[in-house]
Amino acid sequence: MKRSGLVLSVMVVGVALLLWAGWHNLRERKLAMQQAQENHVVLVPEKSGAATSGSAMQPDPQSPEAEATQMRGKVAPAFTLVTLDGKKVSLSDFKGRPVLVNFWATWCGPCKVEMPWFEEFQKQYASQGLEILGLADDVDAGKDAIAKVAQKTGVTYPILLTDGKVQKAYGGPDGMDYLPMSFYVDKNGVVVEETAGLGSKDEIEAHIKKVIASGATPAAGGQ
C-alpha cells in the first residue's frame, strides 16, 4: 500500500513536471514570437537573390509585410498605360532613371496622405532623375473622380489609368490586396524596395534616396 502510494506520488510529480515544461516552453516560444514581430524583420525569398535579414519567422504570405517583399530584387514588370489626358506612358520611357511606381485609389485615405509628399519629393529629387508615376487602381471610379483627387492632393506627376494587367503583374493573381503599394525601381529597372501601406514621410524619403543611389551608373543628373 505504502509502495503504491510512493509510485503514485512519483507519477503525479512526473505529470506535474511535464505540464510545467510544456507551459514553460509555450511561454518561451510566445515571447520569442513577440520579439520577432517587434523586430519586424521580413524574409525575402531566396530566389530573388536580394539580401536577407536573419529571422526564423516566416510571415503570413498574405500579410502586407509579406506582400511587400514579393517584388524586391526582381526586374519591374514593363507596362504601357494611358494618362488622364490620354497620353501613353511606358515604364521603359524612364530607363536609366529611378522611378517610384505608386498604386493608389480614390477611396484610399492613406494614399491621399502620401501623395502630396510624393509631389514634394518629385520636385526635390528631380535633379537626380527621380520620376514618380501614380497608378490609379480604381479606374471604375471614373476619370473625373481620379482627376479630382490628383488636383486636391496637388499632384502634378503623371497619373496613369491601370488596365487590370499591371495590378496582377505587381500584386499577384488577385491584383492589389492593399493600398497604397509602392515599388521603387532603380536605374537598371530592378525593384530595390517595396512598401505596402502608409509609411512615414521619412521612410519614404529614405527609400527614394536608396533607389537614387542604386544601380551601376552614377546619378543621372535630371535627364
Partner: protein, 162 residues
Amino acid sequence: MRLSLGVAGLLAFAAVGYAQQVGNLDAPPAKPKSYVVYAAEQQSVAAGKRSVLELHFRVVDGFHVNSHTPKSELLIPTRVELQPATGVKADAIEYPAGTSYSFSFDPTEKLDVYSGDFTVKLPVVAEAGTHTVDGTLRYQACDHAACYPPKSLPVQVIFTAK
C-alpha cells in the same frame, strides 16, 4: 495496475495537449477573408404592423469601415442592399451614426467610420409567416495604414411574423 494505466492515460493526454498547443503556435496567423462579420439571428415581429428588424454586424478588430455617411463623396459608404421578398414591405434602412477617426499620419483629416459592433435597422410590415430577405452589405475597410478593396458580404434576414 489500474492506477498505472490511469496515470499513463493522463500522461498521454498531457502530451497530446502540449503537442496541440505547439501546433497552434506554428500555424500562420489567420488573415480575415472578410473584415465585417454578420451575426444572423431569428427574429419575431407582429404580423401586419410596422416593426423594426435588426441586422447586427461586427467589424473585425484592428479594422474600420466607412460609415453610411462618410465625410467625402470619394469614400465608399457602408450600405445594405436588400432584395424584395414576398409578403414583406420594407421601409428605408436606418444606419447608425459613425464615430470620428483619423489616421495617425494625418490627424487633421477626420473620417466617419464604424468599428466593432454596429446595427443596421430595417423597418418592415410583414404578412403572417416565416420570411427570408436576402441582401448584401457593401463596405470598404481600412486598418491604421492601408486600405482594402471594396467588398460584399451576403446577408440573410430570417424572421417570423405572428
